[in-house]
């Protein structure tokens, strides 16, 4: 039974890690854009 929940949790963990990575890249890009704007 633990395997089931682990599997579902792992799935979402991986998805959210990737989304988090995208968000971080976006934040960094925004900063660069602001730098350029100056």
């Amino acid at each position: 039974m633990n395997y089931l929940y682990t599997a579902y949790a792992a799935t979402w963990l991986i998805h959210l890690t990737y989304v988090g990575y995208l968000v971080r890249r976006y934040v960094r890009l925004r900063k660069e854009i602001d730098e350029l704007g100056k």
């Binding site: 395997y3 599997a7 792992a10 991986i14 998805h15 995208l22 350029l36």
Partner: protein
């Protein structure tokens, strides 16, 4: 186009939640495997999504090589990345399913093995994209994608024959599927497709934005250096 995003996001959240509910509560318990079999409601749709994304990557790579459209290249990198994410999920949930049901974490089962090789090929694709100089990256990556696609049938045959000569435990579910399970499968697949769509869209916009920023930075560097 932009207004679609929130609508799609809400739809996706709904589908995913409903899919989860159906998978855990509504779908009937398997006679032989018990509750653990429910992993397939995440494992199989993730596999189908990953294969679809890699197929799109293959098409985008060909489109790029023929027409040299940078948007095709952006689609290629996006689908490769998101495809690897889904493929990783397949490779993680697979053993988590195999262990309680068949007592082994891994076996050279044809589906697991060919998924592993596909994952390896696309991870190497991502490495190539990261380490090559930006001028060449689209062409080199597209060439690699084509090689990868050509390899897939050969991988499949080699594993199939290997298993014929060295019989291995069979991991993939045999037997007939309860029809009630089908619609939970499809529901979760639809949910994950929508989710993949959202993520790909975001990643695509990020990629386009990144390229614009880099172009601007390059231009600025040029202008700064030119003599006044």
């Amino acid at each position: 186009m932009k207004r679609f995003f929130p609508i799609l996001a809400i739809l996706t959240a709904g589908l995913l939640s409903f899919g989860l509910y159906e998978a855990l509560v509504v779908a009937p318990t398997d006679q032989m495997q018990g509750e653990v079999y429910r992993i397939i409601y995440y494992h199989v749709p993730s596999a189908w999504t990953a294969f679809l994304l890699f197929l799109i990557n293959f098409v985008a790579s060909i489109v790029y090589l023929i027409w040299r459209d940078m948007r095709a290249d952006a689609v290629a990198v996006v689908t490769a990345e998101v495809g690897v994410v889904y493929c990783t999920i397949v490779l993680v949930t697979g053993p988590l399913w195999a262990r309680p049901v068949w007592g082994i974490w891994w076996t050279w089962d044809i589906r697991l093995t060919s998924t592993l090789v596909l994952w390896l090929i696309y991870v190497s694709y991502l490495f190539l994209r990261r380490f090559s100089n930006s001028g060449q990256t689209p062409v080199l990556a597209a060439a690699l994608a084509i090689f990868g696609a050509l390899d897939v049938p050969l991988v499949y045959f080699s594993i199939w024959f290997f298993r014929t000569q060295h019989p291995q435990p069979v991991v993939g579910g045999g037997g007939s599927i309860d029809p009630r399970m089908w619609h939970v499968w499809l529901l979760n697949w639809a949910a994950f497709l929508c989710f993949a769509g959202l993520v790909c869209w975001s990643r695509y916009r990020l990629e386009i934005l990144q390229r614009e920023v880099e172009e601007t930075q390059a231009l600025e560097a040029l202008l700064e250096r030119s003599p006044r």
